[in-house]
Symmetry: C2
Subunit: 315 residues, 2 copies
DNA sequence: CTTGACCCTGAAATCGATTTCATTTACGCT
DNA sequence: AGCGTAAATGAAATCGATTTCAGGGTCAAG
């Protein structure tokens, strides 16, 4: 393929001049035109690898998410993509499958590919980001907060509280909670919101930890239903587990008015879901947009202290 | 960060030797050990950008899909990822949003980032791949076939026929078809299957073209229902349009036994969907796996003539 | 006419790896 | 001991861009 040298030769200038033309650095109109013509004729595209090697940074930002099959994260990805594209960055998506090891591998790739920056919905809050930060690569945590880096989340406590309060208002009293992995800040915050709103404060017997996935939600719901005194309602801390919980309920013939159910985050393809489910909508796409904007500001040199953005819980 | 020169200096060898140690080329045990120790101490990670520049190829493969919010494609992505990771490749996902221009931009990135290869579910069958093929980058088309490159698809004609026949067997006679964009090979093939199975062969009045998305399916269904003599069943050529069609039916109070509906491809989160929908399951994940395997064989130097793999329509 | 300031330009260094090529070293065999 | 072959090693070239540095040219002010 055509290189900058080929273009230079054809245009009768030095490679440096070709580079300048493509980077908007002052070049006389005559040469500039000759270079453009030559580049056109050779259908020259600058080699990004060479450019990245020299500039020590590419125009690619990585978005690392734990579950590509969760519509919440794909919506978020759309948000990131829209903003990034508009600023000339490409987005590559990496799926960790909630696996810390895969996550670490992708973080390695980010470093060694000299990617510009990274938006991360981490598998846990003790990710090792030293390699990134040491090289000045900006990191933005999204959906799941991380110590020491810019963070964009929703108000998880308020969301959990609102969802639970809505169940209380519907007259339910024995309200269970299915939340995410033990120790995860997001999972804990949502459960905290539930604790605040639930009437019987000794109700941790109705608290279950699962894995933010359909199967986990299903298992937890089954477990709750098998209690001697099962709950009369349940607050589920994410959309996929809510799907699992709903499946468990449907299997037992339980539906809306008999048992209450509230989901943190829109149910996927909600047009297909049963009536009577309380939903706390999550602004997934706007989370992605905000994270991307934050990252791009950092890439442009913004060096304020760490910032945390908390979006309201409605689309 | 530590470079290969730093490691070489610390280990008292030449950079070439360090490179050889990391590439499994014969180096005496003594030096090899010294290099490893030095690399460890400096926490050295080879710079992939430099390596890519020199080798003219990275260890990244691009997966370009038209709609990241479609569970079919995310399942496919999982398949690709599993196989690729196992062979030491990283996968980056690019979402074109069914937009040919975005697609072209991503193809440019693939070329100029020297990515190893590319798996593509194209927006149309006249994509320009000359830049790719000229540089010997293998391309595999998945789900949507392309001229001149390896292809992995399902048997779209058979699937359309089976789905429609199942509706016929249920006693429906005025069976409509909602398929994808006019001229798209996948959309046409599925509609061809429908034509083969439908009893009244003059029934193209019941054929609608939409965009493979929820809204399009909804609009087409509404349109069909507004006909003077509406169909009594519908075959929908992809999962998202089926969701839209179902929504339209539910809005009119029409459900399973009254009107027949068959979907090509599993409904997303099917546990939530109404009963009575005929589903032709699509082996999305296996499509991804097969495509990745094919691509990796090419990357390893396989240069057989073009191959086409057609999977059966069941998971 | 001289000097200084400023703008363009090209030669060459640089980014960090891989790889070729030439050389050295080691070893086996007669 | 002498010779040939193979294996291990390092110096230097290479990939394709960007960027520094040093001139060369133009122009205005003195």
């Amino acid at each position: 393929m055509a290189t900058i040298y080929d273009v230079a030769a054809l245009a009768g200038v030095s490679p440096a001049t070709v580079s300048r033309v493509f980077n908007g650095i002052a070049v006389s109109a005559v040469r500039s035109e000759r270079v453009r013509a030559a580049a056109e004729r050779l259908s020259f595209t600058p080699n990004r690898t060479a450019r990245t090697l020299r500039k020590q940074s590419s125009e690619v930002i990585a978005l690392i998410i734990p579950d590509i099959e969760n519509p919440f994260f794909t919506a978020l990805a759309r948000g990131v993509e829209d903003v990034a594209q508009a600023s000339g960055y490409s987005v590559v998506l990496c799926n960790t499958d909630e696996d810390a090891e895969k996550e670490a591998r992708y973080l390695d790739v980010v470093v060694s590919e000299n990617m510009a920056g990274i938006i991360l919905a981490a598998t846990s809050d003790h990710v090792d980001l030293t390699d990134l930060t040491r090289r000045g690569r900006p990191v933005v945590a999204v959906d799941r907060s991380l110590p020491d880096v810019d963070t964009v989340t929703v108000d998880n406590v308020a969301g959990g509280r609102d969802a639970t309060q809505s169940l209380v208002a519907q007259g339910f009293r024995r309200i269970a909670c299915i939340t995410g992995p033990c120790g995860g800040p997001t999972a804990e915050a949502r459960a905290d919101g539930w604790r605040e709103a639930v009437i019987d404060s000794s109700s941790d017997r109705y608290l279950r930890h699962a894995d933010f996935r359909v199967e986990g939600g299903h298992a937890a719901m089954v477990n709750l239903l098998n209690l001697p005194e099962p709950p009369d309602a349940v607050f589920v801390a994410n959309n996929l587990m809510a799907v699992g919980a709903l499946r468990a309920l449907i299997e037992r013939g339980l539906t809306a008015p008999v048992i209450g159910i509230a989901s943190f985050g829109d149910l996927p393809f909600a047009t297909l879901s049963p009536r009577g489910v309380t939903v706390i909508p999550l602004p997934a796409r706007r989370l992605g947009e905000a994270a991307a904007r934050l990252l791009i500001e950092r890439l442009r040199g913004d060096d304020q202290p760490r910032r945390t953005i908390m979006l309201e819980n409605h689309s």
